[in-house]
């Protein structure tokens, strides 16, 4: 008999739980056995007994939390079928950041895909998302509103470079999350033909080094330290750092800084203004509204579970399109981590 999907995965306080496999997917607090979709801090936490994830995600967790972040780790190659208790699991590319994966959980003819965070459009820094046929598709809803339609990222980079050319006396501070967004933005800047040194905040260094080691060439990166030069030396430069650093004293070393931020949230003016951003760049590592709809259509599951973000709008879209859907109330995932 085919099991019911809710026998396979249930939301619990710690995260999404699989009773027949006795494991959690992306638990928000320490558990005995965790399967991790990707290395962002709200999905990958330290302190689990056992962690199963792609080799890149395990490397990233070790970089961020130390090699002893878990009791034991096990790498999962993409496509490899792994048995855990009474279920099998397999990892498939999610296109979100380096190492990111969707996790398919299967038992007795019932397959659920927990897609974690994903983006279907190509990204030069990670493997491209593949739709995985399934009975239940668990989708994120970070940008699940019809107003979120991410423009072409290369065009946004062009806006940045034009602004740099127009303001040669100012330092452009580009806010980027340290894992994924930073390396993607750097790669896109290189793809646009900008070969000058890029200056990075210390928080980005190790992950940029790691991306390099995995074959993502990032060009000439230099630490944005004061000894890198006197104040005037950053005039006309592009400096990348975590957005939180821009409010710090760290930012005072730059001449008349022009604050930019690469994020899907920059689509909404009020969001950009709240953050004091002068040059909002709409570059996101999540699926936008059209991509969410296209993905659900391509995966064609019999049911969709919607989690973290604007669940209600995506559930509504599913209803309008005759697709069974319900919100999955998971707690603890950052609303705004893009």
């Amino acid at each position: 008999m085919t099991p019911r999907p809710e026998d396979l995965l249930v939301p619990r306080r710690e995260g999404l739980y699989c009773p027949p496999g006795d494991f959690f997917i992306d638990p928000v607090r320490p558990v005995d056995r965790a399967l991790i979709t990707h290395g962002h801090a709200d999905h990958a936490r330290a302190g689990h007994g056992h962690v199963l994830a792609t080799p890149e995600t395990l490397d990233i967790m070790a970089i961020r939390y130390g090699a002893d972040h878990a009791g034991a780790t096990q790498p999962a190659e993409l496509g490899e079928v792994i048995r855990i208790g009474d279920v099998t699991v397999s990892f498939h590319p999610a296109g979100h950041v380096l190492g990111s994966a969707q996790i398919a959980v299967e038992r007795g003819g019932m397959r659920i895909v927990a897609s974690g965070d994903y983006k279907p459009r190509p990204d030069p820094t990670c493997a491209r998302f593949v739709p995985v046929a399934c009975d239940v598709f668990i989708t994120e809803a970070t940008f699940a509103l019809p107003v979120f339609r991410h423009p072409d990222a290369a065009a946004e980079i062009d806006r940045l470079l034009r602004s740099v050319a127009r303001n040669p006396e100012r330092a452009h501070l580009v806010g980027v999350y340290s894992l994924g967004k930073a390396q993607r933005v750097i790669r896109l800047i290189r793809d646009a033909g900008y070969e000058k040194p890029l200056y990075i905040h210390g928080a980005l260094q190790r992950l940029c080094d790691y991306y390099e080691s995995r074959g993502v060439a990032l060009g000439d990166l230099r630490p944005a330290t004061v000894d890198a030069g006197a104040k005037g030396d950053f005039a006309g430069a592009i400096v990348l750092g975590p957005p939180s650093a821009f409010g710090d004293r760290w930012a005072r070393r730059f001449p008349d800084p022009l604050v930019s931020f690469a994020s899907g949230w920059m689509q909404v003016r009020a969001r950009a203004r709240q953050r004091g951003v002068e040059l909002p760049l709409v570059i996101s590592d999540h699926a936008d509204w059209d991509e969410l709809a296209e993905t659900i259509t391509a995966v064609a599951p019999s049911e969709v579970w919607v989690t973290h973000g604007r669940e209600e709008a995506l559930v509504r879209w599913c209803a309008l399109n005759g697709i069974a859907a319900r919100p999955l109330h998971l707690v603890g995932y950052e609303d705004e981590g893009d």
């Binding site: 509103l145 689509q267 709240q274």
Partner: protein
């Protein structure tokens, strides 16, 4: 449309006032007539396009997308034009390209269009524009830019562009109409200064600073006059060449809302004063509360009943113009003498003078302030006797010394996502006090008074302690042992049949977050009711 869209984008994200002025002046230099005039009029909210109203834009998008999805989107974005611009479903058959007509053609076409034609024109243009172009078009049509662009700043940009004094622009402004060809000709030196076409123009008002404790030591009481600070709205009444007008302190013409008062402006001159609801009674003029005045505010039309029950009244503070004589350069005390004589000749049912207070030193004034004779007084004004009437907020001339606010401790009950700059944050709070032990009753709403940093903390508290969600509103855990206490400050309190609690606060804001205080120790409804009794 591209130029205007670019201007909006850069203005919106440019924080510095000076940089905004530079951008605007640069735009005025680069863009020809009549486009720059229409763009400026749109930014100054001086452009009326009757053929298209927001309700019709909602209908346009309603025909293209699900109402519920639109509602979610609008709730998130918090701005109608922006929501439509972003969510507008592009028709694949029409490649969107910015070849829609420019600003001038759009404005002139719409001004010639009927209300039936208007929406169809806009719809066709929306299909041909990219999202920034759609945003610019919709903002042009509806106004409401929310980018920290005051009318004053626009006038300053014009002054900077033409190298003239900003007051010259302000005095002219009400006689001008978009696209302001005469004005630009004058500013560019190709034409004469426009003659103020408007009779009874607005004159830029003089404003005060809040007084500091330290000021009292520096200031000699003998140099100053004092008067009550009335809790109405500051207005300017002007009559010239048979035209009567009532302006707000920012120069908005509100004559249409107060025909009873405007008809009584039977003089030739310009007075500065407070708009109140009041009528002569047996013991002198009986002044209503601010909530009485509210019955008359923001109304496009006024009924005879409203006029009868809440008559508008002008309490004069100052005189700027008497007949053909401009009095603004005179010292305050000399203007006051002129004012007394001037108002003595006016209808006492509509006009009186705000009396000057007798005080020998600051302590005596403090005693007067602590015990005002009427509830509608919200403090005292202190004015330098020698000060001329200067536009803007000159330093050291006028001071306001407001009554201390009322304070209560209340418990956060509901939080709603903000709009505009705060969209995405739970920034509008409904708070309550105890009616019975264990029963909170909501008594008011506040959405400011906290810092951005505090907002982040409250937002997190709301998300972590949500019990239920109703659309944009969350109800928050609030019981005797668990809950967030706000110290709420407010200016006044009235009975209200519209509120469940029976009370309505005036101008409530969060004065402190009391993370330390157990909710059980928040105030009780009886305390608020006693405050009302004190007010009456």
């Amino acid at each position: 449309m591209d130029r205007f869209a670019d201007l909006l984008d850069t203005l919106a994200f440019t924080p510095s006032r000076n940089a905004k002025l530079t951008l605007l002046a640069d735009y005025l230099r680069r863009v020809p007539d009549p486009e720059r005039g229409y763009a400026l009029a749109a930014l100054a909210r001086d452009l009326d396009i009757p053929a298209v109203k927001p309700a019709q834009l909602r209908e346009l998008i309603g025909a293209r997308m699900d109402a519920e999805l639109f509602a979610y989107s609008y709730d998130y974005v918090g701005d109608l034009a922006e929501t439509i611009a972003l969510a507008w479903p592009e028709r694949a058959s029409i490649p969107s390209r910015n070849d829609a007509p420019g600003v001038a053609e759009v404005v002139e076409t719409l001004q010639a269009a009927s209300r039936r034609e208007g929406p169809a024109l806009v719809e066709a243009w929306l299909d041909r524009l990219d999202p920034p172009g759609r945003y610019a078009l919709l903002k042009l049509v509806t106004g409401g830019f929310r980018m920290g662009l005051s009318a004053r700043l626009i006038k300053q940009a014009l002054a900077g562009f033409g190298q003239v004094e900003v007051n010259e622009i302000e005095e002219l402004w009400h006689g001008l109409a978009p696209p302001y060809l005469d004005l630009f000709a004058w500013l560019e030196g190709t034409g004469d200064k426009p003659v103020n076409a408007a009779a009874a123009p607005f004159r830029p008002v003089m404003l005060s600073h809040a007084i500091d404790e330290a000021d009292f030591e520096r200031l000699d009481p003998a140099d100053f006059a004092a008067e009550w600070k009335w809790d109405g709205i500051r207005v300017q009444a002007v009559s010239e060449r048979g035209i009567n007008r009532l302006y707000t302190r920012t120069g908005d013409d509100i004559s249409a809302s107060f025909p009873d008062l405007v008809d009584a402006i039977a003089f030739d001159g310009a007075l500065d004063g407070e708009l109140l609801v009041a009528r002569p009674g047996e013991g002198g003029v009986e002044t209503g509360s601010f909530s009485d005045l509210q019955q008359r505010l923001n109304r496009k039309t006024v009924t005879a009943k409203q006029v009868r029950e809440h008559p508008a009244f002008f309490r004069a503070y100052d005189i700027l113009q008497d007949g053909r004589e401009d009095l603004r350069a005179l010292p305050f005390i000399a203007r006051r003498a002129r004012l007394d004589a001037f108002v003595a000749g006016l209808d006492p049912a509509r006009f009186d003078c705000s009396p000057l207070l007798d005080f020998a030193d600051w302590d005596e004034l403090a005693r007067l302030r602590a015990d005002p004779p009427f509830a509608v007084i919200e403090g005292v004004m202190i004015k330098r006797k020698a000060a001329p009437y200067l536009p803007g907020r000159p330093k050291g001339e006028w001071f306001k010394w407001k009554r201390d606010p009322f304070l209560i401790d209340a418990v956060l009950m509901y939080a709603q996502r903000g709009h505009g700059k705060r969209s995405g944050y739970y920034s509008d709070y409904t708070f309550g006090v105890w009616r019975e032990p264990g029963e909170l009753v909501p008594v008011g709403k506040a959405y400011f008074g906290f810092t951005d940093e505090e907002l982040l903390k409250i937002d997190k508290y709301v998300r972590d302690n949500t019990i239920e969600r109703f659309g944009p509103v969350r109800s928050v855990r609030a019981g005797p042992d668990k809950g967030l206490v706000f110290e709420v400050a407010f200016e006044g309190i009235n009975r209200s049949s519209r509120h469940k609690s029976g009370v309505a606060m005036r101008f409530p804001r969060i004065s402190r977050l009391r993370w330390d205080k157990p909710p059980a120790e928040a105030d009780r409804l009886e305390t608020l009711e006693r405050m009302i009794d004190g007010e009456d």
